[in-house]
């Protein structure tokens, strides 16, 4: 048996002492619970962080609303909402949730509920979707550097969006760009998958290289679209590819929710097989994993998650790469914890990034994709160096 060699960091002294010890079965050792405990703490911590960053983000902007007033506004809405629901089922109660101050400014309530919250919630959903998709990709390909872009979702989506901008079509009204982007993203992904399939199996390397090929063609189409576009459309294409949550509304949130929910449910089903897949395709199959089925479900889930996010927010890179890695460093690679923690972490990251995007410069909305790439690029490089120094290269 050839075991891939790597620098030996553990000590080997146990052999001699063990050989002398009686070989009788010892009592079952307690399971290593430290990772599980840390996982629970991380999930809780991220949950708290998400609530905190949401309240802060909703309060910041051209009209500042103190966090206490934001929390008060949420509490009041929650109170009246719950009372209304209970009233529908015939229970009339006065819930004690309407606590805290309401926004002092006349327009405060409207600003919060019509402008800020839709944007914050969309950031949350898109962040969760991208990070979960990244974790799924890395697990499915057993490659820590995989990210959703390798199966062509975002480049494919860019094709749809840029064609809409170029042709100036508005067949579906305000939904034209999201629907076109989502469809072409999905088509590109399925194209990558089916082109790389042969004899009922997909090889990881073939799939990644097919992704490279499809991505190249997609970028060529986008480049051509940029070339023939009017200056105005050209600007739209460029800015769409930089990503932004500007102008997010509740309808967009409502459109994204079902895809994210389906994607997250699929991710839950995939958690256990993805753990086994880290042993390699063959070993996973020997343990009862239907590797091809896992792979197609994962790819479709990624296409839905990323496609839905990209459709409304444009291309936002590196979230899917960075977040799962950070989570893995804290709680280890087990997907049952990694996937939910990545979803929460992605949500926190993108809400924060969007807060920076719209408040860093007054009267300007920075492209959020630019911000995430600015942070993600150096991180990617650091990851590369670290893996290299630990594993002695990629060979």
């Amino acid at each position: 048996m050839n075991v891939t060699s790597s620098p030996r960091t553990g000590e080997l002294t146990s052999d001699d002492t063990r050989a002398a010890a009686p070989a009788a079965t010892r009592p079952v050792p307690p399971p290593p619970s430290s990772r599980r405990t840390r996982g629970a703490f991380l999930l809780m911590g991220l949950g708290v962080a998400l609530v905190a960053v949401t309240v802060v983000a909703a309060g910041r902007g051209q009209m500042a609303i103190p966090p206490a007033e934001v929390a008060g506004s949420i509490a009041h809405r929650l109170d009246s909402g719950l009372e209304w629901v209970l009233g529908r089922v015939g229970v009339t109660v006065d819930l004690p949730l309407d606590i805290g101050p309401l926004p002092a400014h006349v327009q405060g309530e409207n600003t919060l509920w019509l402008v800020r919250f839709p944007r914050v919630v969309l950031a949350m959903l898109v962040g969760a979707a991208l990070a979960t998709a990244g974790a799924l990709m890395q697990g499915t390909f057993g490659n820590p550097l995989a990210e959703p872009a390798i199966v062509g979702v975002s480049p494919g989506a860019a094709v749809g969006a840029s064609l809409v901008f170029v042709t100036g079509t508005s067949a579906l009204g305000e939904w034209t760009v999201p629907v076109a982007a989502f469809s072409t993203g999905l088509i590109a992904t399925l194209l990558v998958y089916f082109l790389s399939r042969s004899g009922g199996r997909t090889e990881v390397v073939t799939l990644i290289l097919t992704g490279v090929a499809v991505t190249a063609v997609a970028f060529a189409i986008v480049a051509f679209a940029t070339f023939v576009a009017t200056p105005e459309a050209r600007e739209q294409i460029v800015f769409w590819q930089l990503g932004s949550l500007n102008g997010a509304r509740w309808v967009a949130v409502a459109a994204v929710v079902p895809f994210v929910v389906v994607g997250l449910v699929a991710a839950g089903w995939l958690a256990r097989p993805l753990d086994l897949l880290s042993l390699g395709d063959r070993a996973a199959r020997h343990l009862g994993v239907h590797v091809e089925r896992v792979r197609i479900v994962a790819i479709v889930a990624v296409a839905l998650l990323v496609g839905a996010g990209v459709a409304f927010a444009g291309v936002i890179g590196f979230v899917g790469l960075v977040v799962p890695h950070l989570v893995r460093m804290v709680i280890g690679p087990g997907h049952r914890m990694l996937l939910p923690a990545s979803a929460l972490g992605g949500a926190v990251l993108l809400v924060t990034a969007d807060l920076v995007a719209r408040t860093a410069m007054t009267h300007a909305d920075l492209p959020i994709g630019m911000l995430t790439a600015l942070v993600g690029g150096p991180f990617f490089f650091w990851l590369l160096r670290r893996t290299r120094s630990r594993a002695g290269g990629w060979g």
Binding site: M1, V3, G10, D15, P29, P144, S278, R282, P333
Partner: protein, 275 residues
């Protein structure tokens, strides 16, 4: 996990000395090159069957055919009374476990997590209750207890090999296929691994093991199958099969078979020039 919903039952054990897996007249081509040529072989419960032969003889391919990973161009492959491809992945996982030559892990799981992966086919079945017992027994048998919290990728080659074997044993199947389990191991652990294989055979399991060390095969296998150029040259008890003539021809190298002075398994050595 979800204990309320349980699928499947443990497969019925096959009685001792019955055929648990068999290949009949199997031929395999890989990229146009014939790798196996009308190979027939039976694996029986209660025995350790060693596959030996020179590099490129088709040992690993034969193991791949038995697992269902490699499709035969012609011939029949059976496992537990059915064609191997008729079992679902999970059903097959309850019946046979496999240790591959290459043991890799893409993410830094701990040893305990890796061994626990061997229990995957039994998830949501009543046998899930045996998980802890099976894992502990497997780790004791392979001498890796105390490694639980260490990361698999931080272990030495030999330690990884034993952890991988523990994962295979934890799967608790009646058919166990091991591809060169001793290659990375020191002398003590080589003996330990084959003693484990014999224990499992004595308990009614069937163990197929690819070996390069003919002395290990002679000492521990109930039967050996010698492969060369994609054919089974001979099958039977090692003392009958391992003759100087056959081994010299198969390995294209003069081989001596020397009777052990104390009556243990014969000693097999390549003939070497005096220095």
């Amino acid at each position: 996990m979800r204990r309320g919903w349980r699928r499947g039952r443990a497969p019925a054990r096959i009685a001792p000395e019955q055929t648990i897996a068999a290949v009949r007249e199997v031929s395999v081509d890989l990229g146009g090159t014939p790798v196996l040529d009308h190979v027939s072989l039976e694996v029986r419960t209660g025995e350790v069957l060693a596959l030996v032969g020179p590099n490129g003889a088709g040992k690993s391919t034969l193991l791949g055919v038995l697992t269902g990973d490699v499709s035969a161009a012609s011939g029949v492959v059976e496992m537990c009374g059915r064609a191997v491809h008729e079992w679902s992945h999970v059903e097959a996982g309850m019946r046979r476990s496999v240790l591959l030559q290459q043991v890799t892990l893409s993410f830094p799981f701990t040893v305990a997590e890796v061994v626990a992966m061997g229990r995957a086919p039994w998830a949501n079945t009543p046998m899930e209750d045996d998980d802890e017992k099976a894992i502990a027994a497997a780790m004791t048998a392979t001498d890796v207890e105390g490694f639980e919290t260490r990361r698999f990728n931080s272990l030495s080659g030999g330690e990884r090999a034993r952890v991988a074997l523990a994962r295979v044993l934890a799967q608790a199947t009646q058919l166990i296929l091991l591809d060169e389990p001793t290659a990375a191991l020191d002398l003590h652990h080589q003996e330990l691994v084959l003693a484990v294989a014999r224990d499992r055979a004595a308990a009614g399991d069937a163990v197929v093991v690819v070996l390069h060390d003919l002395n290990l095969a002679a000492a521990h296998a109930d039967r050996v199958a010698v492969l060369a150029r994609g054919r089974v040259v001979d099958v039977g008890p090692p003392d009958l099969v391992f003759t100087p003539e056959l081994l010299s021809e198969v390995y294209t190298h003069d081989v001596e078979v020397i009777a052990h002075p104390a009556g243990a398994a014969p000693i097999i050595l390549p003939r070497r020039a005096r220095r």
